[in-house]
Amino acid sequence: MTLLLRRGSELRLLVWVAAIALTGFVAVAAAETTAFDRSQVLVPVLFVSMVVLLHAFLAARGLRGDQILLPMAACLTAIGLVLVQRLASSLLANQLSWTVIAAGAFIATILIPRDLTALARFKWSWALLGVALLVSPLLPVIGREINGARIWIGLGRVTFEPWEAVKIVMVVFFAAYLEEYREVIANTRRFGPLPIPPLPYLVPILAMWGFAMIVVIFEKDLGAAVLFLGIFLAMLYMATGESFYTLIGLALLLVGGFVVYHAFGHVQVRVDTWLRPFSEDMRFGAGYQIVQGLFALANGGLFGAGLGNGMPDRIPIVWSDFVFNAFAEETGFAGALALLALYLLFVYRGMLIALRAPTPFLQLLAAGLSFIVALQTLVIVGGNARLIPLTGVTLPFVAYGGSSLVTNWMLVGLLMRVSDLTARARGTE
């Protein structure tokens, strides 16, 4: 019994997650058929049991440190399952299977490697792995092109998006590399207020990043390009504190964006759709998705139309691209704000873990991982609310998508391990 009391806060929070999962499923199920479908209660029960088992595993292992990340990830995943049930119930079994796989990946991340700092030693292996993963969708046999983007690999009927994993690999590589060379990069000769960048030391990461960019542009994945650029700039800044590089990076982004806009048709479409979705020629064509998405938001009001009461099915591919709007339509601004707050709290906790980590590598690792979640959320919500063009990244944990779910749970596992190491080093709980 003392086993479970070791991570008492976590267990207490999981009770609330269970309540959320249950009420969510009940609301959606009851709204669809006015009669109650008992088999649908199985899903939240199954999910909650799985999460409790994860908690027991952590307690048995004696993992110390953070106790709110697991409940938050579970809460977000639960909301995701409720929404998949609501928006595309035929995909629920699929998403549930991926959730189980994600739980397995989480356990694996907790168990291996035994020494987290060993990750830093293999940075070039990580770079190589990243490159391999990035290129894999372009390969003949296993590469798949879906919806005009060549970003998938498939084995039989199972498809996977390797770029999701590349994000994490990239962060590990950057963290390891920057730990070693941050002093050199930061303490360069200066030309007045501006630093003279030590190019030889910047080359490996620039190359890695540049390669990622090119591949992603060839695979027509605008969202991944934005994310990689953001992660690169953020980690460079966090390691060196040199805002000059960030400004250059942003300038390059604008220039690159300009070039890409004129060179690539699909980019042009996205930007035009963002600028004038309600115009006559866009409304029923390229702009249909965002227009319907905005209608959904408008229908939300303050408290939403009610779970199961909106019309999110008018938005094309709502279960992966526009889950946020569907959630906001049915739970209103109040619900959307709560969801954004959850993500912010998650990122905040991740950054706190980063601040307290004992070595620079671990600090950069945790910060980079948290940044991934933050940037991804901001980019998709920004696109959904027409603050920026749509890019095709999806909402972490909540949107339908197996690869995203698995990699995000691995991300959580890594963060919790960093927190554990910090706690052991400090002698705290």
Binding site: T2, R6, S9, R12, L13, W16, V17, A19, I20, T23, G24, V26, A27, A30, A31, T34, D66, Q67, I68, P71, M72, C75, I79, F303, G304, G306, L307, G308, N309, E330, T331, G332, A334, G335, A338, L339, A341, L342, L345, R349, L352, R356, A425, R426, G427, T428, E429
Partner: protein, 142 residues
């Protein structure tokens, strides 16, 4: 208004929204609590973790924050009270000097053990070492 199915359904929906907010606030509160306790724990110069305890107090797994000088014994007035029969009223003193921890036996009846070996008078204790007072075992940690 009669309690129609519609009204019930609407209540479930509102409950969902409320639950999400409750969870959000409780998570934040839990975070604040753990940060606060982290701070107080980190201020301790060291910690003794109870490894073995035949009685209800001290609890196994309990963490005791250490000061620079800590009197250990059965007497309640000690900094670290060990209400074990086999412990003397004033059993030992655990103190930190120049970044090093030292344990001194105060002439106890059954003696003080470090890593299973009975000490003479004073012994240096390192992090990870196990100190036995009576039937209670304590491990020194950072």
């Amino acid at each position: 208004m009669e309690i129609t199915f519609g009204v019930l359904l609407w209540s479930v929906r509102i409950a969902f929204l409320l639950l999400v907010y409750v969870f959000l606030f409780r998570s934040f509160a839990s975070l604040q609590r753990s940060l606060a306790s982290e701070r107080t724990q980190a201020r301790a110069l060291g910690t003794l973790v109870v490894e073995r305890s035949p009685a209800k107090t001290p609890r196994v797994g309990e963490r005791l924050s250490l000061r620079a000088t800590n009197a250990i014994g059965r007497d309640a007035g000690n900094d670290i009270a060990i209400p074990d029969e086999a412990a003397s009223a004033r059993h030992a003193v655990l103190e930190q000097r120049d970044e090093e921890w030292w344990i001194e036996d105060l002439g106890s009846t059954n003696g003080t053990l470090v890593n299973g070996v009975k000490i003479e008078k004073r012994e240096r204790v390192r992090f990870g070492d196990e100190i036995a007072i009576g039937r209670v075992a304590l491990r020194l940690e950072r």
